[in-house]
Symmetry: C2
């Protein structure tokens, strides 16, 4: 038994190295439920998941300790919820409904078993919000705690990044800037404002809005994981258009204003370039009447001769880093 890193002196914690791979898998499996979509669940060579039609959406994200989460900033439940959320969000951004997740866990031998169990509880809780199920995974030893998640989903009318048309309106659903402001606050040693810090720890993707947008005829959609300008930039390039963001129309949450004032930063920058909120940004024809879940924030423009696809802010090029990129 190894001493607990941060716990009371007399407490000892059981580590994954002590119980081994097979016992760890057995404990994790006890935390997983099942539903009618899971035809064969965890414990075999592969799981079998029912699809609504004869196709399936699939997306993968890898989260690394100290880069995507910090165990001193977030509880294991929060890490699990966030790891699930960012993958469920990818299915949401296609207009789909998530059905199943797999978890690939590479973890140091010294990691407490309870940390893994709590992380899995976080996965289960987040999946329950959309009716998805953890159907399988893998556990392996590694020096770097790494969580690789794959999400499957049912697609109705899949909404790609490439369909934005000149004249379309650009709209967002969900929060923007809160998680980025929370990250900035935590990085400076603050633990508030609470709404921002919590948004960084556990995002709240607008799960209903993805299929809703597909139903409304969205021409393109993306989830905002790296930053609004960076992710809308993917839509601009895939659709060969210029997208202009009207900053006056951007919702500016009070906690974002608070963090901006405390840190001497323009709060709008959190909304434009802060990632990790997993809001949706979508384009719709100008005639589409949008429900309250969606806020119009810009318009799609034709490219002039020799013009490259881009995102402009109030009509001019953005002078700064549009969002997060690994190795940059």
């Amino acid at each position: 038994m190894a001493p607990a890193a941060d716990g009371p002196e007399d407490v000892t914690v059981q580590t994954v190295g002590e119980i081994g791979e097979f016992e760890l898998i057995a404990r994790v499996r006890r935390l997983l439920g099942t539903n009618e979509r899971v035809l064969i669940g965890p414990g075999d060579d592969a799981a079998l998941v029912r699809t609504r039609e004869t196709h399936v959406l699939v997306s993968t994200d890898v989260l690394v300790d100290q880069r995507h989460f910090r165990r001193d900033w977030s509880t294991a439940v929060e890490v699990g919820r966030k790891a699930a959320a960012c993958n469920l969000s990818d299915i949401n951004a296609m207009g789909g409904v998530p059905t199943a997740l797999t978890i690939g866990l590479a973890a140091p031998a010294a990691l407490p078993v309870t940390w893994v169990e709590e992380m899995v509880r976080g996965f289960v809780a987040e999946c329950a919000k959309v009716g998805a199920q953890v159907v399988g995974g893998d556990v392996t030893a590694s020096d770097a705690l790494t969580i690789a998640v794959t999400a499957l989903g049912d697609a109705g009318r899949p909404v790609q990044r490439s369909g934005a048309m000149p004249g379309d309106q650009v709209a967002i659903a969900g929060e923007l800037g809160l998680a980025g402001a929370g990250f900035a606050a935590l990085s400076r040693g603050f633990r508030s404002p609470r709404a921002a810090v919590e948004a960084h720890r556990v995002p709240t993707p607008p799960y209903a809005a993805g299929p809703q947008a597909a139903g409304l005829g969205a021409t393109a959609m993306v989830d905002v994981s790296d930053g609004l300008l960076a992710d809308v930039g993917h839509v601009a390039r895939a659709s060969r258009v210029r997208i202009d963001i009207d900053t006056e129309r951007l919702p500016l949450p009070t906690p974002v204003i608070t963090v901006g004032e405390a840190l001497g930063r323009d709060p709008v920058s959190f909304v434009l370039t802060g990632g990790d909120d997993y809001a949706l940004a979508a384009t719709f024809s100008a005639e589409t009447t949008l429900p309250d879940d969606w806020t119009v924030i810009g318009t799609v423009h034709d490219l002039k001769a020799d013009e490259e696809p881009s995102v402009t802010v109030d009509g001019i090029a953005f002078d700064g880093d549009p969002g997060h990129q690994h190795y940059r």
Copy 2:
């Protein structure tokens, strides 16, 4: 530019840290083909993969540098082929046909770009053997090179681990012991026998035999990744039976005998406990006539009162470690 670790003196290599996440993804995408099953390929929030029926097989494996592969033992192409193979094998072990893979790559900034490109070429080459396609992935920075792979597949009649019946015959398809003998040889600094060393670097799973076994009415099936006794043990426990292996019927490849003699080890131990060959072990009713791809190696027995499920060797309990387990 960083100096090449093992190359000629004047050569400099471009690293993933130098080109960044988005350029790395763009380069990888150029190496990927497509096929008629891929309705939406890499580059969107999720891929869309056609399924033959209204369900899909899914399996995940995580490979970590220095644990599942060594860059000084294997080329990047070999690492990619093995990472693909062990995941395609999981679909094979369900009697399914693999259709799509995703690759989650966590890599140090100093990793050469060419290493990633060669690894992806390995994935593409292995996938081509079964008509599968790389449809998406993720790239992130990490100190530990980690490759998380998820395989999707079409299931005909899925063969689980839990259906073995007393009286069934136990049979294997594919190689057993070669990869384990190759690993033992490499570990002692040998680079031969070539067939064993190559089997460790790139396994050759019997991809046709999985669906074949399903068609023959296999009652249970598993792929041998941790070791024959360990993996057949999963079938024994899931099916609540005793499985007896008849060592006289086990094929003993010549290179395995060679390694056994050189290292003073019983060559049969490589066949019983060596992993990484990705052979199939399956159970069939005694009446099933098996094609040449399959070799009968044992029988399934009823449990006596109070007897726990187990694997016996020539009728007696095996005295040793049945195979690989992480953290053990």
